[in-house]
């Protein structure tokens, strides 16, 4: 069944703060095989003008995706998560995520569409630091494939 259009524009309360740790950034950088010293060496990061090690560009998805659960699991929305695939992903960065950040995410449903029985959901996650400054915006397109008719 098509998702309810009235959910477009709905925002959810901000997620609990996520504290970005140096070792978590290191773990992520190693997992993607990226040896850029800005991810692991505070002095190398400082030489580039950063106050501490920074995270790879896609690191923040682990935080925004968890925060998007508030939308995905909204029983009123009724998304069939077992049929969901990730369609598109985009980020716009004000500054890089860095160690020591305490980040909250506010998720908003930007668009709801139905195409050929597929439900398409665009979620925007606005990421802010502890001082309330904007850090990055993440746009996630989820596609719930049409269920086979019994």
């Amino acid at each position: 069944m098509a998702l309810d259009q009235s959910f477009v524009g709905r925002s959810y309360p901000p997620s609990a703060p996520y504290e970005v740790g140096r070792e978590k950034i290191r773990e992520f950088a190693e997992a993607v095989g990226d040896a850029n010293p800005a991810y692991v060496d505070p002095e190398a990061a400082e030489a580039l003008g950063h106050p501490d090690v920074i995270a790879p560009p896609t690191f923040v998805f682990s935080i925004t995706y968890k925060a998007a659960a508030v939308v995905i699991e909204d029983p009123q929305l009724g998304l069939d998560y077992s049929r969901v695939v990730h369609g598109d992903q985009k980020f716009a960065y004000r500054r890089p995520v860095r160690a020591g950040d305490r980040l909250t995410v506010t998720s908003t449903i930007e668009a709801v569409k139905s195409m050929a029985g597929n439900d398409i959901l665009d979620i925007r996650g606005e990421v802010h630091d502890e001082a309330g400054e904007h850090v990055v915006t993440a746009w996630t397109k989820l596609v719930a494939r049409a269920a086979e008719e019994a």
Partner: protein, 142 residues
């Protein structure tokens, strides 16, 4: 932000050094742990096949993370990336052998924009097939 590439030194059509990124089952398990995405389609062959996939597939976000390395290796400072977006067009299938799969990424400057930024268009393929569509980054240069 201290990119090692100067805006004035690049032109539309400038090619970035290409990258070749291997992806094995072990890499996917590590990525699952590091990212917190434990969806079994990325590590459990039986489950992946039951939901209609040919085999275990790489996380789209893993592929996205590899593709941007062509840009961050080029600029030196990853903070030079001010925008980055992709479409997940085809999954990277990762067989359970010593080889796994390989993601090949090339990029070129597609446009020079205002504010000393350029748009880089990326091409990511695996096994000769395009795996990311509309893969673009806006990059601020010195």
């Amino acid at each position: 932000m201290t990119a090692k590439i100067a805006y004035d030194d690049v032109e539309v059509g400038t090619e970035l050094p290409a990258g070749t990124f291997p992806v094995t089952r072990a890499a996917l398990v590590r990525y699952a742990g590091a990212s917190g995405d434990f969806n079994p389609i990325h590590w459990n062959e039986k489950f992946a096949k039951e939901v209609g996939l040919p085999d275990v597939i790489a996380h789209g976000m893993f592929t996205m993370a590899e593709a941007i390395r062509v840009v961050t290796d080029w600029t030196g400072d990853p903070a030079a990336v001010v925008e980055y977006g992709v479409r997940f067009t085809k999954p990277v299938v990762v067989p359970n052998d010593d080889e796994g799969a390989v993601i090949e990424v090339s990029g070129k400057v597609a446009a020079k924009l205002d504010d000393r930024t350029v748009r880089v268009d990326l091409l990511a393929t695996s096994g000769g097939q395009k795996v990311l569509g509309m893969s673009r980054a806006v990059v601020r240069l010195d």
